[in-house]
């Protein structure tokens, strides 16, 4: 059976988005319902595709399609996913219906059409960026994604939205340009080695690039990814963008789009520039560890919820980058699981924060809250769950990711893992401090009579909670899919894993 799954996954939301624009502006409910239907259909398609995925296949990519696009430059429309890509495509398609439902009333009726149309466009592009197997195509998606996000922040956000949107756009463009330069360099190298230049990912992986050249090209890609992810010190656009976005935008931005950075690291940097990756690993690890601790400490000192979440995400991105650059299977798989888990926990925190803000005049200042638990226990309960998910409570998805990253790190540099572990204490401190200030104590006067969640509001959170718990207790299916892809990547990098004694057969070995 040869269904163009991935193209269908992009076309469906794109067509859905165009139809959204054709719907009458005066009927916002119809627009929302339609957007939800499209998102759910895309999700259904993703699930059908995921069921077809062969975890133990030998081919690096599945569901591949390839059509020439600009043959003169060896550019083609090639898509396909490995385990890592599949997981992230799934994350994107799960979160879109969730945020549509959660952000049902985020914008006023006049703006509804454009908002939901942009969300659907973004979905198509997210699928594209995670499934491109042509580096140029990846670059195109990488840059085009900025457009809907720019409008989502700049048109529908808070008071400082224009400024935040421009900051986000310019910052991302700087990274994108560096990446474009490196991309052209890569093309030239491929033309020198193969006679005919190419952007095909697998062909590029097969190149034997001079290490010094690798180091230069690596930086171009790395800075773009480090801005996207964001790693310390390229992070300052994120707090502004997160603060001014609507919750739905923030979730897609931080939960999914920023994963393009870390996804790019594991998918493109490691296999294409193995020598440079090895060379720069200490630097990246240093940035990651700084990010973990710095992000957590700065989060501890925030007075604004959304900025706090942004810094906390930065801290978590530190873990993800750390896992990727220690070149161990546990680290790489852990990072991928963490990407997934972080997407879910970001959804949980921003959705609950969004509900809170909606009920309190749009304020995201922590000091404007207090005692929510007493008036809206269900909302406070979800808020606590979100905090727990962000501090990686064992049994939740983020724990699996975080612990595997730490194990993977410990294998190679035990002291780095030891330093990074301090982060989990600070994480607990800021997550619970936030919960304490928002949900406990005497109820703030402005929150008296605060309505608790409605069924429509509970549903998206329930989905996130169930998924977080399911991946926390049954990460098996995810790991099965991810492990081979990470293994393949690490084979290309070729840094041998440190020796771990093989486990003795369990039981029966009395001394």
């Amino acid at each position: 059976m040869n269904i163009p799954w991935l193209t269908a996954l992009m076309v469906l939301p794109l067509v859905g988005s165009i139809i959204t624009l054709a719907l009458p502006r005066s009927r916002p409910q119809v627009v929302k319902a339609w957007a939800l239907i499209v998102a759910l259909a895309t999700l259904g398609l993703t699930i059908a595709m995921a069921l077809e995925f062969q975890a133990d296949a030998t081919a690096p990519f599945q569901f591949t399609e390839s059509y020439p696009w600009i043959p003169a430059f060896g550019i083609s429309y090639s898509v396909g996913v490995d385990g890592i890509g599949l997981v992230l495509v799934a994350l994107a398609t799960v979160l879109v219906p969730v945020v549509i439902l959660a952000g049902w009333n985020d914008v006023d009726d006049q703006a509804t059409k454009g908002y939901f149309a942009l969300l659907l466009v973004l979905e198509a592009l997210m699928v594209g960026v995670f499934s491109a197997t042509d580096v140029f195509l990846f670059y195109v998606f990488f840059e085009v994604m900025l457009v809907p996000v720019y409008f989502l922040i700049g048109r529908y956000g808070g008071a400082g939205r224009t400024r935040a949107a421009v900051k986000f756009l310019l910052y991302s463009l700087v990274g994108g340009l560096l990446m474009l330069a490196a991309l052209i360099g890569l093309y030239v190298v491929s033309a020198q080695q193969l006679g005919q230049g190419t952007f095909d990912f697998l062909a590029l992986v097969g190149l034997d690039i001079d290490p010094n050249m690798q180091k230069v090209l690596f930086l171009g890609f790395f800075i773009a990814f480090a801005i996207k992810a964001p790693l310390w010190p390229f992070h300052t656009w994120l707090p502004d963008a997160a603060k001014e976005s609507t919750p739905a935008t923030a979730i897609l931005l931080i939960g999914v789009l920023d994963k393009v950075g870390t996804f790019g690291m594991i998918r493109y940097l490691l296999p294409i520039f193995p020598a440079a990756s090895d060379f720069y690993a200490p630097l990246v690890i240093a940035l990651a560890v700084i990010g973990i601790l710095y992000g957590a400490l700065v989060a501890l000192g925030q007075t604004d919820m959304k900025r706090l979440f942004a810094y906390s995400s930065m801290s978590h991105f530190g873990f993800i980058a750390l896992g990727i650059f220690v070149f161990t299977l546990q680290g790489g798989s852990g990072s991928t699981v963490y990407m997934l888990a972080h997407g879910l926990s970001t959804a949980a925190v921003f959705i609950t924060a969004g509900y809170l803000m909606q009920r309190n005049g749009g304020s995201s200042l922590i000091s404007d809250y207090g005692g929510v638990n007493k008036v809206a226990p269900v909302l406070a309960g979800f808020f606590l769950f979100a905090a727990m998910s962000s501090l990686a409570l064992p049994g939740l998805a983020s724990f699996v990711g975080e612990f595997l990253v730490l194990v993977g790190t410990f294998i190679r540099y035990w002291w780095v893992a030891a330093i990074a572990t301090i982060g989990i204490v600070i994480t607990a401190a800021y997550a619970l401090r936030l919960y304490q200030k928002v949900a406990t104590g005497p109820t703030a006067p402005s929150l008296e009579g605060l309505p608790d969640l409605t069924a429509r509001e509970k549903l998206p959170l329930a989905v996130v909670v169930v998924l977080t718990l399911a991946i926390g207790f049954f990460p098996g299916p995810v790991l099965e899919v991810v492990n081979p892809a990470v293994e393949r990547t690490l084979e290309v990098v070729g840094v041998p894993a440190p020796d771990i004694p093989q486990a003795a057969p369990s039981g029966g070995e009395a001394p």
């Binding site: 310019l170 300052t236 710095y294 400490l297 700065v298 501890l300 000192g301 925030q302 299977l329 546990q330 798989s333 852990g334 005692g371 638990n373 007493k374 727990m388 409570l393 064992p394 049994g395 724990f399 699996v400 612990f403 595997l404 194990v407 410990f410 294998i411 035990w414 893992a417 030891a418 572990t421 989990i424 204490v425 607990a428 401190a429 619970l432 401090r433 304490q436 949900a439 406990t440 104590g441 005497p442 109820t443 207790f473 049954f474 990460p475 098996g476 790991l479 492990n483 771990i500 004694p501 093989q502 486990a503 003795a504 057969p505 369990s506 039981g507 029966g508 070995e509 009395a510 001394p511």
Partner: protein
């Protein structure tokens, strides 16, 4: 005492028992976890619909679990001693390359006693809570959290590998957080809950690093394979693992230097203090160390540190317990001190593991009894917790008084009651290993006698110092019946476990046992200990017999320090909390000014330059034309010059 019948057991190393597959009654081991988990899920997700019957469901699940646990015990006793370890693998949980962690349960003699303690004491406290929490609007949630706790605690003791244990470990932490902060509208309760969780997290750093080091050293995190290979690892590695595990234990069991959260944890409802912060959760650290005995056996250094931590905490807790006027805080100090005993016993190595668990069991019963008794008093006194406002309650609350006395006799170790057996065993073992620790143990026993007698006198004897509108009354049967059961348990658990249960022989396959000759005869040691305890009792009687002022007297330096919990909060604040917040504030400034300043600065630089450049755009078409002509002429001149040169 025990040594008499156990001579033949001496010097046996812990035997690594092969795990038998779960069959028969053991096949449903997972149900043990599932029952309370189901209760928690129904109560917490069911919402207000379950308000009416929810609490009863909560009790029912735990009681059923207790019944099942007893059935398990009976079946286990029927098995030969070396086939009592049962393993049940449910599914592969986290599997990445060589890192394999199964979701697998293990029930051996050690887990069995814990399961019994948790479910039986847990059931009694659930029933008691029906009365204690009767008027609380959120009592459905309370029972939900309690059930969640029971499930997590059972997972902690049933896990067959370190990673799964970690899930239970943090799970109980979460339940403890929720229950300490149960009355969240009180800022003090919310702060105490957060403090407990964060301090526990510091311990968890130790546990997670220990797990990583265990994996790197042994290639596995499953108990049986780790312990089988423990002998092959270098002593340095084992020492590190041991110290990291100790850090974890310090967090969970409120041992020095992570002890400060336990006193604040008394903000939770009293049944919570009884169940979590006395009988079960806080003893998880002892479980962890004893369970990892095979690792500690290879490292004298780590064991010594364990023992030292135990000694320090034993005294800290006892001193704090002697000065607090809040009945629950005094009991919390006592809990710290008693867990100190257990940690000491664990730090003695194979000599002491068994006795650590033995004391843990008896303590679990009598401390639950004491806390529930205190709860009954608080209930009867309309929430008053200050012992200076009690007095003469023995006539008003007869059942509470009598049961409290049972716990009292047990904890100070009057023969033949529980504490006598378990505490004297630890002191005995300590003298076998190191007489200094032994002497410390005897001294702390004396202080125990002092603070418990002080508590009894201030609460039940003397003149009534009640506040005006307080009319103490005996609690309802739903509270007193668990008290009576626990009271009887306090008196006889020790004897029962020694003479009928043969606790030493029961645990010996898991923990190993080793006995060494003792310089002084056992009976003399018992005599000395008892004398010291009685001296402590006598001092307390002398001091508090006459009058107890309602306002605390000034007191000497030590008393003041002890009333302030030996300044643990101030120390933590100065050493950790304030520096962290200072660092946080500093980084916020750096982030806004320096890092974002650079970004914004480069943006304003470009902006500034273009603001000046745009002045060229005057809007006069002819000046643009002039510029173009000038440019063209310039280009032409340059061309000519270049051509000519």
């Amino acid at each position: 005492m025990i040594g008499t019948g156990a001579a033949m057991l001496s010097d046996s190393a812990p035997v690594l028992q092969p795990l038998a597959p779960a069959s028969g009654v053991f096949a449903y081991l997972w149900v043990l976890l599932a029952l309370p988990l189901f209760g928690a899920a129904v109560l917490l997700l069911g919402g207000r619909r379950t308000n009416r019957w929810g609490p009863y469901l909560g009790c029912l699940t735990v009681i059923t679990a207790a019944a099942y646990a007893i059935a398990l015990l009976v079946s286990m006793m029927a098995l030969p001693a070396d086939e009592r370890a049962i393993g049940q693998s449910l599914y592969s949980w986290v599997a990445v390359g060589s890192f394999q962690a199964e979701f697998a349960l293990q029930l051996d003699q050690l887990s069995m006693v814990f399961v019994l303690l948790i479910t039986i004491v847990g059931s009694l406290i659930h029933v008691y809570s029906l009365g204690y929490m009767e008027h609380d609007v959120d009592r459905r949630k309370f029972f939900g959290y309690l059930n969640l706790f029971i499930a997590a605690m059972l997972l902690l003791v049933l896990a067959d590998n370190y990673l799964l244990l970690y899930v239970g470990w943090e799970g109980v932490g979460l339940a403890s957080y929720l229950l300490i902060g149960f009355w969240q509208f009180k800022p003090s309760a919310a702060a105490a809950a957060k403090k407990a969780f964060v301090m526990n997290r510091i311990g968890d750093v130790g546990l997670s690093l220990a797990i990583m080091l265990i994996f790197v050293t042994f290639g596995t995190v499953a108990f049986d394979s780790v312990f089988a290979q423990a002998g092959q690892a270098s002593e340095t590695t084992l020492t590190w693992i041991g110290l990291l595990l100790l850090l974890a234990a310090c967090g969970k069991s409120a041992q020095f230097p992570l002890q400060a959260w336990l006193l604040d944890a008394m903000e939770g409802p009293t049944p919570v203090s009884a169940l979590i912060h006395a009988a079960t959760m806080v003893t998880a650290g002892v479980y962890l160390i004893v369970r990892s005995g095979a690792i500690f056996d290879g490292t004298a250094v780590a064991l010594t540190v364990v023992a030292i931590v135990g000694v320090i905490t034993m005294f800290l807790g006892a001193i704090i317990g002697s000065a607090k006027d809040d009945i629950k805080k005094a009991l919390a100090g006592s809990t710290m001190s008693q867990i100190g005993y257990m940690i000491i016993a664990a730090g003695l190595g194979p000599i002491g593991y068994v006795f650590a668990i033995f004391h843990l069991l008896t303590h679990g019963v009598f401390k639950a009894n004491l806390f529930l008794g205190a709860g009954s008093v608080i209930h009867g006194m309309d929430g008053q917790q200050d012992m200076r406002r009690y007095g003469a309650l023995r006539t008003a609350m007869v059942v509470t008084w009598l049961t409290f006395m049972c716990g009292y006799l047990a904890i100070i170790g009057i023969p033949p009651f529980s504490g006598f057996f378990s505490k004297d065993d630890i002191i005995h073992a300590a003298f076998e290993k190191n007489w200094i620790i032994g002497v410390c143990g005897v001294l702390a026993a004396g202080i125990t006698g002092f603070y418990m007698t002080r508590m009894i006198i201030m609460t039940f004897f003397g003149k009534a110092r009640w506040e005006d509108d307080v009319h103490p009354h005996e609690s309802k049967p739903v509270m007193t019946i668990p008290l009576i059961i626990l009271g009887i348990g306090s008196l006889f658990t020790g004897a029962a476990l020694v003479y009928w249960g043969d606790i030493v022989g029961w645990l010996e396959p898991v923990t190993g046992l080793q006995e060494e000759p003792l310089a002084i005869p056992t009976i003399a040691l018992e005599g000395i200990t008892l004398t010291v305890v009685l001296i402590g009792v006598a001092i307390a009687i002398a001091k508090y017999r006459s009058t107890v002022p309602v306002e605390p007297p000034p007191g000497n330096l030590l008393t003041v320090a002890a009333r302030n919990s030996l300044y643990d909060d101030a120390i933590n604040d100065a050493l950790v909390v304030q520096p962290t917040y200072a660092l946080s504030r500093g980084f916020v400034t750096v982030d806004d000014r320096v890092i974002d300043g650079t970004v914004e600065g480069s943006a304003s630089l470009v902006g500034g330059v273009s603001r000046r450049l745009r002045l060229v755009q005057t809007g006069f078409a002819r000046s643009y034309a002039l510029l173009m002509v000038a440019g063209a002429i310039l280009v032409a001149v340059v061309l000519v010059v270049v051509r000519l040169s």
